[in-house]
């Protein structure tokens, strides 16, 4: 090791220490203890989980919720990002501020907001009742996985918009003009030129917000309590007042973590492949 490297090493350690300590204390350690309590009974918890119909239904519910919330957010977020990219700088800043606002709200606030609007005696539920829409139906919708997905969209859409905006802004609209000059209709140009270009980012956005929806529990707990069977609520029930099945909770955590990581890596890999393809030699 050279002298200069020797001198740099202490400084490196000093600067890296806070990061390492945080990582160790708040990621490695908790994860380690979760894994620890999982192996305590020799993997019995995982096996029990697999045989538990409640868990399987919870997994199903969570996957449905993640897909619904993810898809809805991307479908709504994409045109919003488009509109934003074409706005004037000042107008865009203002709208961006408004769009980002829900990100700062806690899940509980969103949940109570939904209850106040769409609950059994919610403002909008009662308004809809005036035109003959049954309040039971509205409330039934809100307190269901679909309703939960809608509530999640409230703070997932801003994330999608923030993710898509740079890509939409950087898209060379001259490509659309070129496609038009070659005979493509507006729709064909969007489908053949813009969509393939946006696809990797759309996937990343979808999987990212789907992963958030898959793991979130604050809004769910406040909005639907235990009425809807999803994994985060199942996990909660295992360690709340009524239960203390830590190995089982650890097993559920592991499944949650695994599914979320899987989703993110699928998205990242497809984005990588996309970049690679653009510069492919053949």
């Amino acid at each position: 090791m050279s002298a200069s490297q020797n001198r740099k090493l202490p400084l490196f350690l000093l600067l890296a220490a806070p990061g390492f300590i945080t990582l160790a204390m708040f990621f490695v350690l908790p994860l380690g203890s979760v894994l620890g309590s999982l192996v305590q009974d020799g993997g019995q918890a995982l096996l029990r989980l697999w045989q538990d119909p409640l868990f399987l239904r919870g997994l199903q519910g969570s996957v449905m919720l993640a897909i619904t919330a993810g898809a809805l957010s991307v479908i709504v977020g994409l045109p919003v990002a488009f509109k934003l990219a074409r706005m004037k700088e000042s107008a865009r800043l203002l709208v961006m501020f408004c769009i980002s606002l829900p990100l700062t709200f806690s899940g509980l606030i969103v949940a109570y907001g939904f209850i106040l609007c769409f609950g059994r005696s919610g403002f909008i539920t009662l308004l809809l009742a005036e035109v003959g829409v049954s309040p039971e139906w509205v409330a039934g919708l809100v307190y269901s996985p679909v309703g939960l997905a809608l509530a999640y969209c409230y703070y997932l859409i801003p994330r999608v918009v923030l993710l898509l905006l740079p890509v939409v802004s950087n898209f060379d609209t001259r490509l659309l003009t070129a496609a038009t000059s070659l005979g493509a209709s507006r729709f064909a140009a969007l489908r053949d030129v813009l969509l393939p270009e946006m696809m990797p980012t759309l996937k990343v956005a979808f999987f990212l917000v789907a992963a958030v929806a898959f793991g979130a529990y604050g809004t769910a707990l406040a909005l639907v309590g235990s009425q809807v069977n999803i994994l985060p609520l199942l996990l909660y029930s295992r360690i709340s007042d009524t239960g203390s099945d830590f190995p089982q909770a650890a097993a559920i955590s592991l499944v949650l973590l695994g599914v979320c990581s899987l989703m993110m890596s699928v998205a990242e890999m497809s984005a990588l492949r996309h970049e690679h393809r653009k510069h492919a030699e053949n």
């Binding site: 070659l182 005979g183 030699e281």
Partner: protein, 355 residues
Amino acid sequence: MSIDIEQCNFQYPGTGVGVFDVSINAAQGELIAVIGASGSGKTTMLKLVAGFEQPDSGCIRVNGQDVTHVPARERNMGVVFQSYALFPLMSCLDNVAYPLKIRGVSQAERHKRALAMLDRVGLGAFARRFPGSMSGGQQQRVALARALVFNPVVLLLDEPLSALDAGLRVEMRSQICELQREHGITALHVTHDQEEALSMATKIALMHQGRIVQLASPQELYDNPNSRLVAAFVGQANLWEGTVTSQSRVDVGFATLACEIGAYKEGAAVTVLVRPEHVQPLQEPASASPGLCPNTFRGPLASDTFLGALRRFELAAEGTSARILGETTARTPVGCIHIDPHHVRLLPPGDIPLA
């Protein structure tokens, strides 16, 4: 097919910028270059022809048929963009085949035709490559192939060579001309490079502030510019404001030049144009004084630039503040020059064109 742009007006909303009273007639197979400084409206004019913008008034005809209100995608025009505008996620082959795909040509057929077109621009071996892995010159040739593969009615070139380096530009010029002639296609070529325009075009339209100042053959534009503006834009030029003093003399302030005054009357204000290649270095006459020999000036060189085949110099005419720009192939010292009266051109004064 022929293109006729008739009295087109277009103004970008909320600005004074656009094109005004633009008329160009291009016969079948002609290559018309549109030149002018940035913001002169040349690209706007191309957009009107391509259908990317709608003229406020006037009309555009292709082969006599009014296409003014036909949408861009139905005009069947091949456009080559300055930025190439190749689709980054399609291979070269798919890029070139795209217009055929849109027209419902079967996959086998469109790949065959696209490949033939790529071969034609010398890129047959690159068919499976993606644009991102190719050089600017190669991308531009793919763009050219894509613009020609569907047998468009006209070819529109929007500064297609400006992003390429000098050597490649010259090579691409002849390739474009060759393809254009081979296809017998009428082309409109927008460029800010006058050399490109002079070497490629059958006719050149020079635009300034949204208007066409002169529309003429390259030779005509160079030899007989209709205004100071055109003379200054195309090629190098000595330009002096002057007054016609007699049937064969014009006063340019620092001297009185012998010339042919043509239709100008005595006392008329004119702009005097002398191209630098007509400024001839002389073996210094031993006895003759400048006063005796009109159009002859002596003096030191204010600048002397070696350009390879040519040498460009500025002679500071003795006893005046005038500098005369000249070009010569001679390598010997220059101390005295002569301007043949035949090569002294008189133009209307100022920037106002004749028409």
